[in-house]
Amino acid sequence: MTTETTPAAVTMPASPRPPLRERLGDNKILGFLGRLIVQRPLGAFGAAICVLLLLTGIFADVIAPEGYNHINPIDRLKPPSAEYWLGTDQLGRDVFSRIVHGAQLSVIVAFAATSLSIVISAVIGITSGYFGGRFDMVSQRVVDGWMCFPDLIILIVAVSVLGPGTWQVIVILGLLFGISGSRIVRSSVLSVKQNVYIHAAQSMGASTLRILVMHILPNVMAPIIVLFTTRLAAVILAESGLSFLGLGIPPPAPSWGGMLSLDGRSYMFQAPWLAIIPGVALTIAVFGINMFGDALRDMLDPRMRGAGAGRYVAAVRRDRPSSRARQAGGASQ
């Protein structure tokens, strides 16, 4: 027994606790969060910003000290103070409350419009790229035609037809980003469908729907996630831009873009916080979403899961009878 245990005792370092990765590895969500923090600290920071944004959006009514359209005529254009943390605007409305409610509006518009755009992109991109041929030809020429128009012209025309409002903005931005985004999805479908495993699925007798959903879609998830996060940020910016031009969600709704243009621009010199604060809020939100998206893309790719490989080696080691004997010997020693 001792002859066998001696080399093992020398080579195996005595570690009382397995490394963090392995302890977290058993729970999927915890393991994912653990790896996110360890491997992608910036991404984890971005995720924290996203969660903060979401929570602010959901609990806006609780967090905000005042309603977003609560007017205090006496306290107009007050600088940030203990009473009004981020100051007040020209109507004496609390900027902090408006930013918090604006987060709610931004979250709703951003997620709804981006989700719509991603669904459109994925459906057009995957079908057009996978089927190819005449279908691809026709659908891509339609996309070309759509993309020929500058975004702003489409937006102005659409808003003037549909009228301003929250759902109009969502639908227009969703369509706009969805159709142009389909190109990105299509191009990665074109490369994915060349893979032998797609041929394998076809020759196996898998249905087209199965191939699209089980093989093509997961393998184009990386660009789709990147698309989602960049578009999420872009939609927030676009909505702000629309509101800035007066084509977005009409006042008094507290859109960040609207605050920037209507109030911020007019009183830029008397009350700079009116422009700075919505701008900073926008910047932080867009930055956080982008960072989180980049990290998410990398983490969701199984080839980049370092911890998985580590656990595999550990599993093989556990399966080998000689090492089990060694461990038993080590314990009795």
Binding site: A201, S203, M204, G205, A206, M214, Y312
Partner: protein, 343 residues
């Protein structure tokens, strides 16, 4: 073994039309990848398909799988004509024919766990019901090909080339197919791993009574695993024979040249080995194949008839068929080539 072969291919032709130009959308030309190939495959045997790159051996395999459009000819599986099946009946047919791929890295979906890769044919064809039965079946398959059950939750990138090829084999076996088409299953692997995989394929054949169509260019591997060997050249079958017969008594000049190109492991013998010069150089373009016998521009025995008349595949002895004018019963040159092949 019944009289009707498991798989029968008659006068198969696969021509790929060449892309035309904008002004002339149909150029009229085509690549004649497979041009009149006939063969049969008996249950439980391994038929090797050898030839140089571009001779149409892989395309033949693809056509049999119905993965590439067939220009002409018929494919029969278990006596049923499968050449024109479409849609649902074609997908049902696919269960009976599975494929093992050359590239073990590309053939597995990197986003799927091994459990789902191997089990996919089970799901596609509804072969098991319930999570438990599914898992048990995948475990059985993994054990069959020599994979540890603990590997089921891993992703393909965590495996070596040989292990991935085992995963591919397990997937091919999952649907319990009648025919497995192996498209160069070992040429992307290390030599030591090649032997393991070849032996695995042989063991599985003995155990499960599998039938292989084995496409390869490695003649030594083919000799080891195949019962019969079919030599292809430029889309045509030039010689078919039992494996030992073909290697000891090659008759077609192309087969002789091909066999002379096998390197010998002994360096001294290798330095004395003479490669038939006719095998050097390029295969003619399949777009514009030579008239008559496709091999005549490179053949050292080429005669006048070879330039004009295409030879037919004819039995010279029982189970040994050659497509060459030298072996026509009337040909006077026959004894001559016998001597040539001995030298």
């Amino acid at each position: 073994m019944s009289d009707t072969p498991l798989l029968e291919v008659r006068n198969l032709k696969v021509h790929f039309p060449l892309p035309g130009t904008l002004l002339k959308p149909k150029s009229g030309g085509s690549v004649k990848a497979v041009d009149g190939v006939s063969f049969h495959l008996n249950r439980g045997e391994t038929l090797g398909l050898v030839g140089e790159s571009g001779c149409g051996k892989s395309t033949t395999g693809m056509a049999v799988l119905r993965m590439t459009p067939v220009t002409a000819g018929e494919i029969h599986l278990e006596g049923n004509n499968i050449t024109d099946l479409k849609g649902r009946s074609l997908r049902t047919l696919r269960r009976k024919m599975q494929m093992i791929y050359q590239d073990p890295f590309g053939a597995l979906d990197p986003r799927m766990r091994v459990l789902d890769i191997i089990g996919e044919p089970l799901k596609v064809h509804n072969l098991v019901s319930g999570r438990k039965a599914y898992r048990a079946e995948v475990m059985r398959l993994m054990e069959l090909v020599g994979l540890l059950p603990g590997m089921a939750e891993r992703y393909p990138h965590e495996f070596s080339g040989g292990q991935r090829q085992r995963i591919g084999i397990a997937r091919a076996l999952a649907a319990r197919p009648e025919v497995i088409i192996c498209d160069e299953p070992v040429s992307a692997l290390d030599v030591s791993i090649q032997a393991q995989i070849i032996n695995l394929l042989k063991d599985l054949q003995e155990e499960l009574g599998l039938t292989y169509l084995f496409v390869a260019h490695d003649l030594a591997v083919v000799r080891h695993i195949c019962d019969r060997v079919m030599v292809m050249y430029l889309g045509h079958v030039v010689e078919v024979a039992d494996s030992e017969e073909l290697y000891t008594n090659p008759q077609h000049p192309y087969t002789q040249a091909l066999l002379s190109a096998i390197p010998i492991p002994d360096p001294r013998a290798e330095s004395r080995r003479e490669v038939d010069p006719s095998i050097e150089g390029e295969v003619p373009s399949p777009v514009n194949p030579p008239s008559g016998c496709p091999f005549h521009p490179r053949c050292k025995h080429a005669m006048e008839t070879c330039r004009t008349v295409a030879p037919e595949l004819k039995d010279t002895t029982q189970g040994h068929a050659v497509s060459c004018h030298l072996y026509e019963p009337t040909s006077a040159a026959m004894p001559q080539i016998r001597v040539a092949s001995m030298a």
